[in-house]
Amino acid sequence: MKFRLAFGVAALTLSLSAPAFAADLKYPLGEGPFHWENFEALKKIDLKGETLTIFGPWRGDDEAHIQVVLEYFRQATGAEVKYSSSENYEQQVVIDTEAGSPANISILPQPGLLADLAAKGRLVPLSADDAKFITDNYGAGSSWVALGTYKGKDGASSFYAFPYKADLKSLVWYVPENFKDAGYEIPQTMEDLVKLSDQIVADGGKPWCIGLGSGGATGWPATDWVEDMMLRTQPPEVYDKWVTNEIKFDSPEVVGAIEAFGKFAKNNAWVDGGAAGVASTDFRDSPKGLFSAPPKCYMHRQASFIPSFFPEGTKVGTDADFFYFPPIAEMPNLGKPVLGAGTLAAITKDSKAARAFIEYLKMPLSHEVFMKDGGFLTPLKTVNQEAYVNDAARKQGEILSSATTFRFDGSDLMPGKIGAGAFWTGMVDFVGGKSAQDTGAAIQKAWDEIK
């Protein structure tokens, strides 16, 4: 009896871990550029006593942002929402789904990985209505639906992953005052960019900071470079065939793009720390070189999220700014290609709350709150553009919408073993001295092996 009592106490105390604390809503209801009617609509869904677990890629500042977004969901529905992430989230999500203990919602930036999970039957399909919503309300809606549509375990295609949050990749960051002091102009074409780089070298500086280090994911920033180069040297159809491996990794088109990246990264005169430093410099440290005096570099090509890693207090738009990674003037037929990425939310364990959360993602409110908090771009057309945290974000939104060609990050579309494996290591080897041809061949070999 005593024993059972004690065990009961233990079980009770165990279940009491981490009570949900009612934090204040960061943006008071009814004020600001938000669709508050969404909040009222959300209130009609009663989820008291339900727990919603969400697993996502966001840590650090981004985690703070998503928590703000989730707080509105918490308070409106009464659900307890637990968000978690992991430094090795790609592995963690496999462990969790495989073991049968995934979160209700898993948010991942890699459609390729999601496709793998869907093929193993680890994802729950969303409804046809959800797909239709994206088609109707997202800019370039059908391409976003395609990103979230995979073959299930039974081989039938369904819509599985709801895109939420986009990133713009084709950006070059710089410090306007450094450019002003040195008298540099923002290049409009790739040719000008190369000229500017040479000019900076002639002036005794280093034009670029490139860092590929990212712990277990070291190498990924290089894949963005190669993809951007692909879009600037080849028509988008070639790009599409490349990510499905209809065009081999060691074909001249791809090798050419890798070499185009090598022209920057393997050029000791152009890169801070030299080619050797590229692979070992952490991508989070890399942009800091822009801000030192004398500057270690003048330009840094990275996606729209990178200001999170700028020195404390840096104001985007004034202390630091960006320009569009320019296209090659000699190839005007390719237009203004833009490389982007995004995260997609999939249901890994179905529940009423999980479905309600997908409904929440359809509401402009869930986008606007994140926009206001920072670091968020969205293709959802119904949002209030006023909600963008600053002009820079709004400007990025414009680049996204004015692109003549928009393509999703190719490495995220490839099978996980390639896009989050062989491609990364291949790029590390390439920067380390391997030729573009050999690098392409090695990645292709890895791809052949998983077919």
Partner: protein, 338 residues
């Protein structure tokens, strides 16, 4: 936090109490059902026999259950998985092993593991011996030994922060904050990106494990050295043997069994090495090792359990000789003891 502490406390009491309660009550029950002090002698003898047949299993029971659930079952499961495809549904025979034999990364890992096996146990034992001999002869030896032992208490994650700091690289002409590059620059060479130097980077990773494990070797070898009979040493000393001769010809052979134990223990550890590679390079720059390769096949990019399991089996087979040796050792000792 208070509830958390309380729950921890309660569970310690419940868990430990539960264990104790199990052992007490099961033994009590045994004594009751088959009383040794039974009415007639024949029954008492019979009961005693039954008692001594059952009791060991009462003692061993919980441990066996844990071992079966947590280790034996997974091993069997892994063997099974290694003959199946990536989702674990279709039987594919030896395909995964055939794939492994041809895979360049797998070969690279085997080569690297071989390097690790060659270097780390040898280095640990060598330094361990030297330090044990030297520190035994000075008054502050115990302090020195403690300091060398200290890294053993540091987690791999902590160690990787420490060593990332040591190997930190800044471009030439900038102020180095990694001590290794600072020293290199002081002597007029250019700084290096240590963890991506082809081939040699393996050794920079090994240094970390050697740093962690040498203390272990030192302590055990030191104790063994003290066990070398004094008269042997005295005799050798009188015969005019030099210190090095005494060390190599007399002390080392005397403690050979202990050296082998240290060597094997570290060898097993090396085969399982995973954290250092994962946190420092994740197998890039050709530093892949088997344990990390297995982890990456199992869990990255959607996971392929078949191949991951096949690699795990290879690791198991690689340690098999050491296992057999250890089992023999244990059995021999068993016979000797009783």
């Amino acid at each position: 936090m208070a509830t958390q502490l309380l729950s921890a406390l309660v569970t310690i009491i419940v868990g430990v109490g539960g264990c104790l309660a199990y052992f007490y009550s099961s033994n009590f029950l045994l004594d009751r059902v088959f009383p040794a002090g039974a009415s007639n002698d024949a029954a008492a003898v019979r009961n005693l026999k039954i008692q001594s047949a059952i009791r060991p299993w009462l003692f061993l029971g919980p441990a066996l259950i844990f071992l079966i659930v947590y280790l034996i079952y997974p091993v069997i499961q892994t063997v099974w998985l290694s003959f199946h495809d990536k989702a674990g549904t279709e039987f594919v025979g030896f395909d995964n092993y055939v794939w492994a034999a041809k895979d360049s990364q797998f070969r690279q890992s085997i080569f690297n593991n071989f390097l690790w096996l060659l270097v780390v146990p040898a280095a640990c034992t060598f330094f361990g011996l030297i330090i044990a001999v030297l520190t035994d002869r000075i008054w502050w030896g115990p302090i020195a030994k403690s300091l060398i032992f200290l890294p053993l208490a540091i987690s791999f994650v902590g160690a990787s922060v420490i060593w990332k700091f040591v190997y930190d690289f800044r471009g030439e002409g900038q102020q180095q904050i990694g001590i290794l590059n600072a020293i290199v620059e002081y002597f007029g060479f250019s700084p290096q990106v240590w963890i991506s130097l082809p081939f040699w980077n393996n050794f920079f990773l090994m240094v970390i494990l050697v740093w962690i494990q040498t203390g272990f070797a030192t302590v055990i070898l030191g104790a063994a050295l003290r066990g070398v009979p004094e008269d042997t040493l005295e005799a050798a000393n009188i015969d005019g043997a030099g210190p090095f001769k005494i060390f190599w010809r007399i002390m080392v052979p005397q403690i050979m069994p202990t050296i082998i134990v240290v060597w094997t223990t570290i060898t097993v550890l090396v085969l399982k090495v995973f954290d250092i590679v994962l946190t420092m390079t994740n197998g890039q720059w050709d530093t892949q090792v088997l344990a990390n390769l297995m982890y990456s096949w199992m869990f990255t990019g959607g996971g392929d359990f078949g191949r991951g399991a096949a690699i795990a089996i290879v690791i198991m087979i690689a340690v098999m000789p050491i296992m057999v040796w250890n089992i023999r050792q244990a059995n021999a000792e068993q016979k000797g003891a009783h």
